[in-house]
Amino acid sequence: MRLDTNDREIVEMLQKDATLSYGVIAERLGLTEREVEERISRLSDIRTKILIVDDEPDTVLPLKRALEIENFNVIEAQDGVEALERVSAETPDLILLDLMLPKLNGFEVCQRLKQDEATSSIPIIMLTAKSETSDKIEGIEIGADDYVTKPFNLDELKARIKAVLRRTAP
């Protein structure tokens, strides 16, 4: 998890004086109390954060539940544009990316993330019903770290997620 300036300030303040209230911090940094609360809860969540990008709610929900059982912090996005927004806002530790997405397709999203230095280190597992070899090759060539075809075995996916995280751990 990467921290922005505000995050670092909050961490610094809390390290000096752990009793500071949210209101004081918000006042000092020019943020609302709620924002500070969100940041602190995010900063205090030490679970690995996984972003699932898929336009099918019925695909996302069971996957989310399964990963939550595995104690992952799961966030979601429904299309390519939303995915990029959430990545820059939340800085997930891993992305499960569907290929057939509205607005921006999975390849484009992957390409943009890998071109941007700030996000290029985030591992991406492509998750799609497209099973043709050419699609897999294209996905891996533009930087995807793994490629899983739907319908997948949940255990296998979980194993792959863990493997990718291990591989890319700092």
């Binding site: 099918e56 019925d58 695909t59 929900l61 069971p62 996957l63 539940r65 399964a66 059982i69 057939m100 509205p102 607005k103 397709n105 019903a129 497209k130 099973s131 739907k150 319908p151 997948f152 075995n153 949940l154 255990d155």
Partner: protein, 578 residues
């Protein structure tokens, strides 16, 4: 360019050389032909002359022989026996001018024909007895040179002495007029021909002249101008009794003459027949030969040219026909190539549509499967809470339905196409069907903030339709409208009666359809724009299924649209007729 000029020069040189060669050959052969014709002509003239000479010889000699036979061995015969034969001889053998008998005293005692016989004429008294005496003394026939007759013209006097034993009885004098001979033998020669014939005796005296009648009886040699050596030479040859051909220049006609001459030997008389023809006659002959040849050549060339021309025209026409045919065939080929290219393009497009469709179908089929599988695996985990369990079961059930619908969608077109769709027609009120359909999409429309407006006339007739098939059609049209209409748009359903049918219109304020795609939206697998439909989802089969169902109801379905403003899908149904 240069090559062309070189070619022309070469062709010209070849032409000039060919013309020279042909001309040279022509001159050479002309010379040869001229010599040959000249030679032939001379020989022919000579033959003519000889023939005439022989004719004269034979004729005259025969006459003399007859008289001699009459005169021979007259022993015992009286003079009257001899003279009695005169009439017979005169009449049987034409040619005599007169036959007379002169007695031993030199007096003419009888003659036939009697009117031309000077009976009683005394040779001695007239001092004309020279030849008479000579015939008597030599006891042989004496023929005089043609001499002028009293009656005019020339005549040959034939003196045949008559002896009885040793006793001189007298002389038979037969006169043959020269004209008798020339009319018979020389006159016909020159009929229809140029030139003339003349006959001279051995002194050069003219006995006959085809052109100069006045010269007859005169001596040519004396008439000759001094410088005409060539003719003089000919005349001398003639007087010598030679035969041959020669050329001289005639002052009178101022032309070269070819003379062919042959001797006439009649006892001791030596005459000479000559045929004189202008040298130009030979040229005429050659010319006529050439004319004939040229005519022949001309005709042959004309035939060849005409034939060639005909062939050329025929071939060129043929060629043109062929060209036209080739052109039209090429046109056809180009046309069919174009058609093939179009068909090919269309096939490629169709192929792409199909592969897109397959890829899409596999995606659409796998997505619910993935959801179900994942949900099921989540359910496997023992320590999940009840809420999650419910969620997972919902997902599984929902996706099963979704997949079932999808499979039905996929099967419907093939059912429609194979005609296996069974319709259960009943009397249906559109009110209820439309209300049901609207109800089933209301939630989706509400979520997108889209207003649904239904306008139906109160007295709308019932239609003849299958409720189970018709409802999905309307739902499909409504779903499409919602899919392609942005938030806060409007969708309206209207119906009216038109021409005995009921027309239903589903209009939206969506993105619209490009005019060129209006007809094709009902094609199987067709999706206007892949990016748009990707966003909207769908199999691309919905409208094709709608079309199949409406057409199975004997209705029509079509679309109207303005890009950017919205689309209207219209279908018609038959009214319920009882």
């Amino acid at each position: 360019m240069k090559v062309k000029i070189d070619n022309i020069v070469i062709i010209l040189v070849i032409c000039v050389i060919l013309i020279c060669v042909v001309t040279l050959l022509g001159f050479k052969s002309h010379g040869e032909v001229e010599d040959l014709v000249q030679q032939q002509f001379n020989e022919q003239q000579l033959m003519l002359a000889r023939q005439a000479a022989l004719g004269i010889e034979g004729f005259a000699d025969e006459r003399v022989t007859i008289i001699e036979i009459l005169a021979r061995d007259r022993s015992g015969d009286s003079i009257s026996d001899i003279t009695g034969c005169f009439k017979t001889i005169y009449e049987e053998t034409s040619g005599f001018y007169s036959i007379e008998f002169i007695d031993a005293n030199g007096v003419v005692v009888y003659g036939y024909p009697e009117h031309s016989a000077p009976v009683g004429y005394d040779l001695y008294a007239e001092n004309m007895s020279g030849t008479f005496d000579s015939a008597r003394d030599k006891r042989e026939t004496n023929i005089s040179s043609p001499t002028p007759l009293f009656e005019g013209g020339l005549g040959s006097f034939i003196w045949v002495p008559v002896y009885e034993e040793e006793e001189f009885k007298g002389v038979i004098l037969a006169i043959i007029r020269t004209t008798t001979i020339t009319d018979r033998f020389l006159e016909p020669i020159m009929q229809d021909r140029t030139g003339y014939v003349y006959l001279i005796d051995n002194k050069g005296k003219s006995l006959y002249d085809g052109t100069r009648r006045e010269a007859i009886g005169k001596n040519y040699i004396k008439m000759l101008s001094e410088d005409n050596d060539a003719w003089l030479k000919i005349l001398n040859e003639q007087m010598n009794g030679s035969e041959g051909t020669a050329v001289y220049f005639d002052e009178g006609s101022r032309s070269e003459q070819i003379v062919a001459y042959a001797p006439v030997r009649w006892r001791d008389q030596l005459w000479s027949v000559a045929i004189s023809v202008p040298a130009s006659e030979v040229d005429h002959l050659i010319q006529s030969v050439y004319t004939k040849q040229m005519t022949f050549l001309g005709i042959v060339i004309a035939i060849i040219l005409c034939g060639s021309l005909g062939l050329i025209v025929m071939f060129s026409r043929w060629n043109k026909t062929l060209e036209a045919e080739v052109k039209s065939k090429t046109g056809d080929l180009i046309q069919s190539n174009k058609e093939l290219a179009l068909a090919n393009e269309r096939l490629k497009e169709l192929d792409k549509l199909k592969s897109d469709f397959v890829s899409m179908v596999s995606h659409e089929l796998k997505t619910p499967l993935a959801a179900m599988r994942t949900s099921a695996q989540v359910l496997e985990v023992a320590d999940i809470n009840t809420e999650t369990k419910g969620e997972m079961l919902d997902i599984i059930l929902r996706n099963m339905d979704r997949q079932t619908n999808l499979v039905n969608d996929l099967l419907d077109p093939s059912r429609i196409e194979s005609g296996r769709m069974e319709l259960k027609f009943e009397k249906l009120s559109l009110d209820s069907i439309i209300a049901d359909s609207v109800e089933s999409v209301r939630q989706t429309a509400f979520e997108k903030g889209i207003a649904l407006d239904v306008e139906l006339p109160e007295d709308l007739s019932s239609v003849k339709a299958d409720r189970e098939k018709l409802t999905p059609v309307i739902i499909n049209l409504l779903n499409n409208a919602i899919k392609f209409t942005s938030r806060s748009g409007e969708i309206s359903i209207k119906a009216r009666e038109l021409n005995g049918q009921v027309e239903v219109r589903v209009s939206d304020t969506g993105i619209g359809i490009p005019p060129e795609d209006l007809d094709r939206v009902f094609d199987k697998f067709y999706q206007v724009d892949s990016t748009l439909t990707r966003e909207a989802g769908g199999t691309g089969l919905g409208l094709a299924i709608c079309k199949g169902i409406i057409e199975a109801h004997n209705g029509h379905v079509w679309a109207e649209s303005e890009l950017g403003k919205g689309s209207t899908f219209i279908f018609t149904l038959e009214k319920w007729s009882g």
